[in-house]
């Protein structure tokens, strides 16, 4: 009997992407619009708020970066409609946000707090707009679609030595399988390439891509060194060190295992989407959760596979995060936060392939609507935009 080609059920978007969720995204154009955006979100079912802390008093390249990142978050397949909440005097370009999001064909609205006469009238108006958007998209139906429409993001956090020997190995197998089936896979955490960059550069599809990998690692390491101290405790973190990771090199060599073995097609800038880009890609991000989860959601990833050893509970407003736990003790202690038990590999009761098969099946369920543990417990606020320059 022929094996059925794996599929999932997603929300078809006008731009050809398929969402695993059907949220109305409330997008504050600047941190100063955050309270209004959050109040709207609390009032209206079916909305998620991108409560970030950037968007003003940044150098111009960072203002562009924040504008572009917020646009990309609105373009996420998991977002069916968007409400932009502007203040009116911010450094980001909320007009461009509106125009570019409207081009996706999704319903988009915009309000501005100063223009509407302040916080209370802006909340009242925003609640009306958001309510209409939710009603406009809430009847949309999922349709069956192929693996080639998957964008998976991957990350490891609160790592220990089990991560590189169990949970990251599982994600690596899943990444290879998705790439072979025509999907898109994106990994990041440039800090955690330090010491393992040669292994990544060897997998680059061209010398230009290899060169770019060395450049982003050098830029990240140079920024870290500019403070004039040993980066240990910043990376690896005290938790990593307590978990047995002795150096950034050891952490990196374990971390890159999760990228699997397939060729690396290129490096995406932080705000960039991966729509139409097949195969395995790098996104240039730091390792900390709020900034990488935001960068990965901006990629257009419908979900994230997140490996942990010590027990990372984080989630994102619009992107389900599947936790794959390599440490059997942590899995038993934090079962309510952990989706997949890869600690069985360490204990010798399951193989990497067996856990990878389970994870792959679970991914298709999550893409089709099954909640992840982080969604069920409501831990969804790990969001912030990574900027390169100072706040001024």
């Amino acid at each position: 009997m022929a094996t059925k080609t794996p599929t999932f059920f997603g929300y078809p978007r006008p731009d050809g992407t398929f969402g695993a969720r059907n949220h109305v995204g409330i997008i504050p154009s600047v941190t100063c619009a955050g309270d209004v955006a959050q109040a709207i979100c609390r009032q209206v079912a079916g909305t998620v708020c991108y409560l970030h802390h950037q968007g003003c008093c940044l150098l111009p390249p960072d203002l562009e970066r924040v504008t572009d990142t917020l646009i990309s978050l609105g373009k996420s397949p998991n977002v069916g409609a968007a409400l932009i909440v502007a203040l009116g005097c911010e450094g980001t370009d909320h007009e461009r946000m509106y125009e570019e999001l409207a081009q996706t064909g999704k319903p988009v609205r915009k309000i501005a707090i100063q223009e509407l006469g302040g916080t209370a009238p802006a909340i009242a108006r925003g609640v009306e707009e958001a309510r209409e958007l939710v009603l406009a998209i809430s009847g949309q139906q999922r349709v069956e679609t192929g693996i080639e429409n998957i964008i998976m993001s991957i990350k490891c956090g609160a790592s220990d030595t089990t991560s590189g020997m169990a949970s990251n190995c599982v994600i690596g197998r899943v990444a290879d399988r998705l790439v072979d089936l025509g999907a898109t896979v994106v990994f990041g955490e440039t800090t955690e390439f330090i010491g393992g960059e040669d292994l990544l550069a060897q997998r680059a599809v061209s010398s230009e891509v290899a060169q770019r990998i060395y450049e982003i690692v050098d830029a990240m390491e140079t920024r870290a060194k500019s403070v004039g101290c040993d980066m240990r405790r910043g990376q690896p973190t005290p938790g990593n060190i307590a978990g047995g990771l002795s150096s950034i090199e050891e952490k990196s060599l374990g971390a890159i295992v999760k990228s699997g073995t397939r060729p690396i097609q290129g490096v995406l800038d932080y705000p960039e989407t991966a729509f139409g880009k097949k195969g395995l890609w790098i996104k240039d991000t730091p390792g900390r959760e709020p900034e990488i989860l935001t960068g990965m959601a901006a990629t257009g990833a419908q979900f994230m596979c997140f490996s942990t050893g010590r027990g990372a509970p984080q989630g994102f407003p619009s992107m389900p995060v599947i936790k794959i736990c390599g440490n059997p003790h942590t899995y038993r202690r934090m079962t309510g936060d952990m989706d997949v038990d890869a600690g069985r590999i360490i204990e010798g009761t399951a193989s990497i392939d067996e856990v990878a098969d389970e994870t792959f099946a679970h991914i298709l369920c999550v893409l089709s609507g099954e909640l992840t543990k982080n969604e069920a417990i409501g831990y969804t606020s790990s969001i912030d935009i990574h900027c390169l320059g100072p706040v001024i």
Binding site: T161, K225, D230, M231, S247, E250, L253
Partner: protein, 106 residues
Amino acid sequence: MTQADQHPIALKVADNDNVATIFADGIVAGTLVQVRDRTGSGPLITARGEIPYGHKIALLDIPAGADIVKYGKRIGVASRAITCGDYVHVHNLDSMRGRGDLEQKE
């Protein structure tokens, strides 16, 4: 179960690694640890001190300044002489990357 199966296991990832990672509790000076490489075999090594779950044991004597190797790659250098069976961690392994402190001294 044979006697040998009951020793705590230390996993060695690559052939040229000079450390292995222990996934067992209760390792103290004198505990016999069974090293297991990709083929499933390896020597018995006597731990020379307490080693926590998930931490590393030296498989060889490593002179001060020599590379410490895991995954077949350098994860740091020995900041002092390490003896086979020693606990290897931040007290005797120095990272060579992201060392802004070293650059300032140059």
